[in-house]
């Protein structure tokens, strides 16, 4: 209860225009004896609760030649334990009106359920059960592998955009695991075996390599007690040591192309994009915050400078956007993309955008524009509270890639403290960075 009062007071403070010192989600955290980190974000807006279990393993950890293993294994986590046979997992959750899913990225694998808050013990027991109790059956593994191959077809191979995205990523991170597809190449998927899945499970799935995040209408003490009674009984795996730092990015070390052009008869609308490896919060903290502000200035919807110039004013693009995601264990990337308007040639638009960005980086962005973008970002932190799953997602992702809670909670202050000079330095540096890759996807002539 005192937590709620605290939250209300701080939110009241946040309602005044000078919003420098608020936190974001007010998480509470503890670590069980077996090494599992438990984080609770209280949210009284609805009677529901979301549980997310994050494992600090992802596609970047796939062994050489076994790309797609982390993601394939994620599918296998639903295939049954001694206590809960195949299929029972989803049945149990559905019987409570709940939903569940999972996802894999380069850095982590996450499993999540939404249930009424009073059904939390059930899903905690179920996640604890499969943390080390999975039965990996050969026949089920081979059927699931064909599901994954079908997923690859559906998401990548059957769409020029999917194939283009893979090639582009490979060129952007030519000598880094981030350049490999999370789902795995066709060749790698053909090599995967049930034995690979068993070895992977032994190596990575244990309490000390996981984070439990609960968001919802719950008390921290209750969740902690339940966690001790469920996850607390899962034996640690002493063979798992701290995760080794991910390798640094070395641009173009195997002579990757800096240009990916693809023509396909199924494409109806051309697009152009460019990306460059850029620091993440983990590789350069202050620079990363400046890049977040920069991305908001250039790409923040219709008031983003890139959209404003090329779509609203010059009318030579139909859309134009900028993106930057600061959350990664290793390098991140800074990107822009645009769709030309009907009367504009794609390469002419590319040239103009590149010139405009170079020019803008050299003249710099004024302090008032920086201040407006910072305010929008800080306001976004308030809107972020008006969700149940998203806070668990943001907190879990941050922890899984090694960003501590206090850093996450100081996000509004960090954004507030970014100066125009820092934004402009980040802008200049990112424009002259090594390793820009340009891509064009267009209709076949």
């Amino acid at each position: 209860m005192k937590k709620t009062l605290g939250v209300l007071c701080v939110w009241a403070a946040l309602s005044s225009p000078t919003t420098a010192h608020a936190a974001v989600f007010y998480p509470e955290s503890a670590t069980l004896a077996n090494g599992l980190q438990v984080v609770v974000i209280q949210n009284k807006l609805s009677p529901a609760a979301v549980q997310m279990v994050w494992y600090k393993v992802g596609a970047a950890d796939d062994p050489q030649g076994r790309g797609g293993l982390a993601h394939f294994f994620e599918h296998m986590m639903f295939k049954g334990t001694a206590a809960l046979p195949d299929g029972a997992y989803s049945e149990q959750i559905a019987a409570q009106g709940g939903d569940d899913n999972a996802f894999t990225s380069h850095d982590y694998t996450s499993y999540h359920e939404i249930v009424a808050a009073d059904r939390l013990p059930l899903v905690m027991q179920m996640e604890a059960d499969r943390m080390r109790g999975l039965i990996l059956d050969d026949e089920k593994a081979s059927s699931e592998l064909s599901v994954v191959k079908s997923e690859r077809q559906q998401r990548i191979d059957n769409h020029p955009q999917g194939l283009f995205g893979e090639k582009f990523r490979a060129a952007l991170f030519p000598a880094h695991p981030y350049g490999r597809p999370v789902i795995g190449s066709k060749e790698d998927l053909d090599r995967l075996t049930p034995a690979d899945a068993r070895a992977f499970y032994q190596k990575h799935y244990a309490p000390q390599n996981a984070i439990l995040v609960v968001s919802g209408n719950v008390e921290f003490a209750d969740v902690l007690r339940l966690a001790a009674a469920t996850f607390g009984r899962v034996e640690g795996n002493t063979a798992i040591t701290d995760r080794a730092p991910i390798q640094q990015n070395t641009p173009s070390s195997r002579g990757a192309s800096d240009r990916i052009e693809m023509q396909d008869a199924r494409v109806t609308q051309p697009m152009v994009m460019a990306s460059v490896p850029a620091p993440s919060l983990n590789t350069n903290l202050r620079r990363s915050y400046a890049l977040e502000v920069l991305a908001e200035i250039l790409g923040g919807g219709e008031v983003g400078l890139l959209y404003r110039h090329f779509v609203t004013d010059q009318k030579i693009a139909s859309s134009a956007s900028v993106s930057y995601d600061p959350t990664a264990r290793g390098p991140s990337s800074f990107s822009w993309s645009a769709v030309p308007s009907a009367s504009t040639e794609t390469r002419a638009l590319e040239k103009q955008i590149k010139e405009w960005l170079a020019q803008k980086a050299s003249t710099g962005i004024d302090a008032a524009t920086v201040a407006r973008a910072k305010q929008r970002l800080q306001d976004a932190a308030i809107f972020a509270r008006d969700r149940l799953a998203a806070p668990a997602q943001i907190v879990g992702e941050a922890l899984a890639v090694g960003i501590p809670l206090n850093e996450l909670e100081s996000w509004p202050q960090r954004i507030h403290s970014v100066t125009a000079a820092e934004v402009n330095a980040a802008f200049r540096d990112v424009m002259k960075s090594q390793g820009w890759v340009t891509g064009i996807l267009e209709p076949a002539k």
């Binding site: 939110w11 309602s15 005044s16 225009p17 807006l45 609805s46 993601h71 639903f78 195949d86 989803s90 409570q96 009106g97 709940g98 899913n101 894999t104 990225s105 009424a116 059927s143 592998l145 079908s150 997923e151 559906q154 998401r155 990548i156 191979d157 059957n158 769409h159 999917g162 995205g165 893979e166 582009f168 990523r169 952007l172 199924r266 494409v267 994009m273 977040e292 991305a295 908001e296 923040g300 919807g301 008031v303 004013d313 139909s318 993106s323 930057y324 990337s333 990107s335 993309s337 769709v339 407006r372 976004a380 932190a381 308030i382 809107f383 972020a384 149940l388 799953a389 943001i394 992702e397």
Partner: protein, 481 residues
């Protein structure tokens, strides 16, 4: 930490680089590609879901302004936010046949300048106060939403009132936005899911407005003038076809005043036009649209009962058991879990004002299309011929009753729910009643609905791809413009 990319709206930065997450399965229920049919600008699927008794339902108050504008309000000041939703009857279905795309173009243009603010000035004002505002056209409704921090509400309501009463529709802006929508039309043609849907709707609806292309075509957009948009807003936006819902940090008294500020100046009555009833074809058919690639996108549909039919809840249960229930559903169990033939298969009910469809779809490798299709038909025939067990009915009820409160997790979600309850005439006490509406359905009710509405012979199919060993009534090329 990427709170901006997660929460700042209208960020279009979904670049190819962003394809880095892989999900275990596509979201439950109606496949995303099919939702646009049911999309009336409102979230229909929410109402598949009633509340359990252990959860306190949001308390809904009906508020009426001095000029007679009604709104449903859930007052909640836990967060300093206000979410407002509204809808006017009459959406894409009211587009003239030769000016398809009018409703979408008009609503897009409404966000591009109002009163003294031109397009840039208007967007700058919204951004400066972190106000999220959007107006969109669905099949049966034009819907709008605004979400604001409490401390910026004055500005938010001021801007929305301008949008509703003084949209500018500047000609130079129109030329730009028309071009953007034409680009979107062209991009749409590359999507197999759109091609599949368009082929299916063309068969089902023929020349009826439900078969119209909501974005229009490049040619139809060229015919639309500023006058068309002015007359659209003047004839359509009126108090008698308006529905409003509000959730968040606002009192009933203040809302009364705000309702008049926003909607009080609108005409009392809309100049509505009658939309002909939908007559679905008696005979189902199948169509193949040829597309190069490795997989075939398959969707199917059959006529089903209307939302207001007393058997609606039995139909929801039947649908859940057959294809709506994710990994619990018979189709997913057979086609994905047992045979590994697809990443996901689902069915769902898509109700609209004038008709209702049972729809579904999946993607499959070209070489396995015939095998998968035969399996789907076998599972479906078995469901139709032998019906369902008591256990299955109970499992479906458990889910449909238990999941309801789990969807009301944000002010926006609750506001959407309140709006759908109004447009679907479910009553202000629906949240308290719907538990019983599902609970009282018997296995016999479900069997009756299956016999009446789930005959596999009633399904029409639309394929996009190059499926091996599949023959269809009709074969056509991709729609090219």
């Amino acid at each position: 930490m990427n709170m901006n990319s997660l929460f700042v709206r209208h960020r279009e930065a979904r670049s190819a680089v962003a394809i880095h997450l892989s999900l275990r399965h596509p979201k439950n229920g109606l496949p995303r590609s099919l939702r646009s049919f049911a999309m009336t600008g409102l979230i229909v699927s929410l109402f598949l879901l009633p509340l359990p008794t252990n959860a306190a339902n949001p308390v809904i108050t009906e508020v009426t302004s001095a000029s007679g504008v009604k709104a449903w309000l859930v007052q909640d000041s836990k967060l300093p936010l206000i979410a407002l939703r509204f809808a006017f009857r009459g959406g894409v279905e009211t587009d003239p046949a030769d000016k398809q795309g009018l409703a979408v173009l008009t609503t897009t243009m409404m966000m591009q300048g109002a009163g003294a603010y031109d397009d840039s000035a208007f967007q700058e004002r919204l951004a400066a106060s972190s106000i999220a505002m959007e107006i969109s056209a669905g099949r049966d409704y034009v819907a709008g939403e605004v979400k604001t921090l409490s401390r910026k509400k004055e500005e938010a309501f001021h801007l929305l009132a301008l949008v509703l009463t003084q949209p500018r529709f500047d000609q130079t802006v129109l030329d730009r936005v028309r071009g953007q929508q034409q680009t979107a039309v062209t991009a749409q043609l590359a999507k197999p899911a759109w091609q599949a849907r368009y082929a299916l709707y063309t068969h089902l609806f023929g020349a009826h407005p439900y078969g119209y292309r909501s974005l229009g075509t490049v040619a139809s957009l060229n015919k639309i003038t500023r006058e068309d948009m002015v007359s659209f807003t003047q004839s359509r936006f009126a108090r008698d076809t308006l529905f409003v819902s509000v959730v968040g940090d606002i009192t009933p008294d203040e809302l009364r005043t705000r309702l008049d500020q926003l909607f009080g100046a609108l005409p009392e009555k809309a100049k509505t036009q009658d939309i002909a009833p939908v007559t679905l074809p008696e005979k189902p058919m199948s169509v193949l649209t040829k597309r190069e690639g490795t997989q075939t996108n398959i969707i199917f549909a059959a006529p089903t009962l209307m939302r207001r039919d007393p058997d609606w809840y039995a139909a929801e249960i039947a649908n859940y058991i057959l294809g709506g229930g994710g990994f619990i559903a018979r189709l997913m169990k057979a086609v994905r879990a047992r045979e590994g033939l697809t990443y996901g298969i689902a069915t769902g009910l898509a109700p609209t004002e004038k008709t209702s469809l049972l729809m579904g779809g999946f993607d499959v490798d070209n070489g396995k299309a015939a095998e998968a299709l035969a399996l789907v038909k076998r599972v479906w025939q078995d469901f139709y011929a032998k019906g369902v067990s008591e256990d299955e009915v109970q499992a479906a009820k458990d889910y449909l009753i238990g999941s309801a409160p789990l969807s009301l997790t944000s002010t926006d979600a609750i506001a959407d729910a309140l709006l759908s309850m109004q447009t679907q005439e479910l009553g202000i006490d629906y949240l308290d009643r719907r538990d019983a509406l599902y609970r009282t359905v018997t296995r016999e009710d479900v069997s009756r609905v299956i016999t009446q509405y789930f005959a596999p012979s009633a399904l029409s199919f639309s394929f996009v791809g190059k499926p091996d060993g599949v023959t269809t009534d009709k074969v056509q090329d991709l729609v090219k413009e």
